[in-house]
Subunit: 464 residues, 2 copies
């Protein structure tokens, strides 16, 4: 997809922006630059007002009951506790229609639209958690599914044949080509995974171009679930999370990517390309920031090749700020970012330096596949996707228990998946108590933006 | 440990070599260089003759019954099927005594030797599978346990305290130092893991120095099991394998590191440092080597960031030889090596080029920990360590089944662990049939060197 196509569809340039809309003028027009994307909530929430506005509570938003989401998906969101002006989470929920083959002429295209069996239909849900501004998450929520559609169409022969052909054209230059593909055990789903990986990369590049053109900054995590041909693909770049809740089990369908979980990858890059640290940071990890008194002492440390800990005699250079510092949720990459994968952040530099953060980030998702053919899905089985605002407070097991008992108690309610999403957000948003936000038991509530999808998996090909 | 110390203990220099020993003169003396290490079989096999020399069979060697190994460990080995002059596998089995604290004066040292509770006693088993000559495996089998002993002694305060101190000296520069260590969840076992990682690195450096000094080449894989303070640490760099066989389950205690399993790490290095490929190789993976006819076609490929497969339009540069090529056991790194981790290979270059293989190799083991405190160990539970010669033919499950039924049928035999090791080697070595080596069912036997340890885990602190 060209950048021109992209702009035409998703952006209003400075000259064509509606001068009556204050939002569209926010930064762009004043600076004679193309305008930043309009701030908005997810499209499926348009026109929604919160029913509840209690003092000391942040309102929860859900889609209206008369416009249900695909598969009767439940959704709920709440803004952060006065951390930023905008809710930096974004969400998308839509179908993705993949043309089964290349189309030559326009007539043919019209004909294909009438014949829906010429399309593979996929179902898509995605959450984006923005940082440093809402823009990257908005672009990603508008654009990632187009990238996925395009990348799947580019390789459609590879995902519709029982075994992907060595050549996309179907030709066989070497008679044993199918054998080579078989020996490598390359299957349909590997080509879908490859398409998802490439789609994230394409979306990241587009965000980089558009953010530069509109002089914006910021980035976002991306968690996308795609149901296609009887399989669920969960692609994750960041610290959102997807779990499958069944009666007897909870199956994690994503892993988090943070400076803590990706320490060795990040340290190794700094080892191979030390210039990236500009002599301002040390790549070694220590339990705490070292001080002058530590010099000459042997202290606990880890380098890129180590899963365990060793002791290192401290030199002056070790007093520099660590490449990865802090622990748990407070861990930061280059003192700046709390995630190590995601989209955007092309312009992000360490404050007061020329050190770029982007080289240490990856925009490539990890993709996990869940094959419905080999699992017995029951009526109350649901997929829960949520941004870290939920998981900071509730464990997988707690979410599963809440989900199971809620669905069991509300068996006849047709809106129960939506109500479960609301219930989960309700459980963690808390209420204001002085300067703090607390839960009923007085423990700390989530200060972050919180977004939750609850996707029922039982009647999964049922349109609504 | 200094290189001088190392030479004094393990090598005979050219001048001091026994002139009557043809082996010691093999290459070194003729070239006026220090001599290569003497070729030998594992020390615990010294004086052993095979009881069986049947035509068309390779003899199996086991330790003599009157010199049992620690814990009544079983061991058996067989040389490869005329692949090389020497059996390139090596094995070590010994105790490792770790001094509990630094010793200042010689008197004190004498006193400590008398007081064995001043030592931590560890038990160690290791297998080394050499390639490109037997030397690296011999050095590693002589030296790795000394490196481990030394690295453990260097950090001994970190592995004897309930929680490793931030400073090895025990001082506390910042009052909350213990809290930082706790927050990072650093435990005794992390310091043992770090010591093992550093020991492999030190051993690799020593091998590099000695191989250069004696003008030798070659490398080896290394699989080491260390029992210390109630925990089993299995450190693996290469394609040997360790499994724990219990009545109801088989627990893999290592993963293999080959160009196939480490594809993304290796491709990423080539992406970051393209000069390493000297324009002779392509870092992309394709199902087969591409030909002129493929140029312009879209073919299946994978790059470093991809777990899935995509389609790429073939350019002329893609016709170069792939960085990683082949599949299964035939996969090679730079057309040269079948493993991606191990010790040695410092001098290894791609044939007829100046391209070094070493930068793509890692000498760092992956360490897995098995804590006996949280497992109920039964009488017939054994740890099986073996080189790839065994695992090429038998799966984990097959080895476990053979082991369970053999031990059950030979319940009263005090040599049953040794006999089980012999039985396992016997099952895969096969017999000669024309130019082939086949098993009883006519399937292919193992052509490789085969070495197997069977370590009983029930009476594990019992000396013998």
């Amino acid at each position: 997809m060209s950048s021109v196509w992209f702009k035409k569809h998703f952006f209003r340039s400075g000259s064509s922006a509606n001068p009556g809309n204050a939002e569209s003028l926010r930064r762009g027009v004043e600076q004679q630059l193309p305008a930043a994307p309009l701030y908005r909530r997810p499209k499926f929430l348009s026109g929604v007002c919160s029913g509840e506005r209690l003092p000391g509570r942040r309102p929860i938003y859900c889609p209206p009951r008369d416009r249900p989401l695909q598969w009767r998906t439940g959704y709920a969101e709440v803004i952060n506790a006065e951390k930023s002006e905008f809710n930096e989470d974004q969400a998308t929920c839509c179908q993705i229609s993949v043309r089964r083959r290349e189309i030559g002429m326009e007539e043919e295209q019209d004909w294909l639209i009438l014949c829906s069996n010429q399309y593979l239909v996929g179902y898509y849900w995605a959450l984006f958690d923005g940082h440093g501004g809402p823009d990257a998450a908005i672009i990603a929520s508008n654009y990632l599914h187009y990238c996925i559609k395009q990348k799947l169409e580019e390789v459609v022969e590879g995902i519709t044949e029982a075994q992907p052909p060595m050549h996309l054209s179907g030709c066989c230059i070497c008679p044993s080509d199918p054998q080579f593909v078989e020996e490598k055990q390359i299957q349909q789903e590997d080509v879908v995974i490859g398409a998802l990986e490439n789609a994230f990369q394409e979306c990241d590049e587009a965000i980089g171009q558009e953010m530069e053109a509109t002089n914006q900054s910021g980035g976002c995590t991306a968690l996308a679930a795609l149901y296609l041909q009887g399989k669920l693909y969960v692609a994750n770049a960041g610290d959102s999370r997807a779990i499958l809740v069944q009666k007897q089990s909870v199956v994690p369908l994503s892993s988090e990517f943070t400076p803590e979980t990706e320490r060795q990858r990040i340290q190794q890059l700094a080892f191979l390309c030390p210039k990236l640290l500009a002599d301002e940071f040390t790549r070694f990890e220590f339990p705490r920031r070292l001080k002058g008194d530590d010099v000459g002492q042997k202290v606990l440390y880890r380098d890129y090749s180590m899963a365990g800990w060793g002791y290192k005699t401290v030199e002056k250079a070790d007093l520099k700020y660590p490449l990865i510092h802090g622990h748990g949720k407070q861990t930061r990459l280059l003192g700046t970012l709390a995630v190590s994968r995601g989209l955007g952040d092309h312009q992000l530099k360490v404050i007061d330096t020329d050190i770029e953060v982007k080289p240490f980030l990856s925009c490539i998702p990890q993709v996990k596949v869940f094959d419905f053919a080999s699992h017995n899905i029951k009526e109350d089985d649901v997929l829960v996707l949520a941004t870290d605002g939920l998981w900071d407070i509730l464990s997988n097991e707690e979410v599963a228990q809440i989900g199971r008992s809620f669905l069991d108690e509300n068996r006849t309610d047709p809106y129960r998946f939506s109500e479960l999403a609301r219930c989960l957000v309700h459980r963690v948003r808390g209420k204001k108590n002085g300067h703090q936000w607390i839960l009923d038991g007085n423990s700390s509530a989530s200060y972050d933006d919180i977004s939750v999808f609850v996707i029922p998996l039982y009647n999964r090909d049922e349109d609504c």
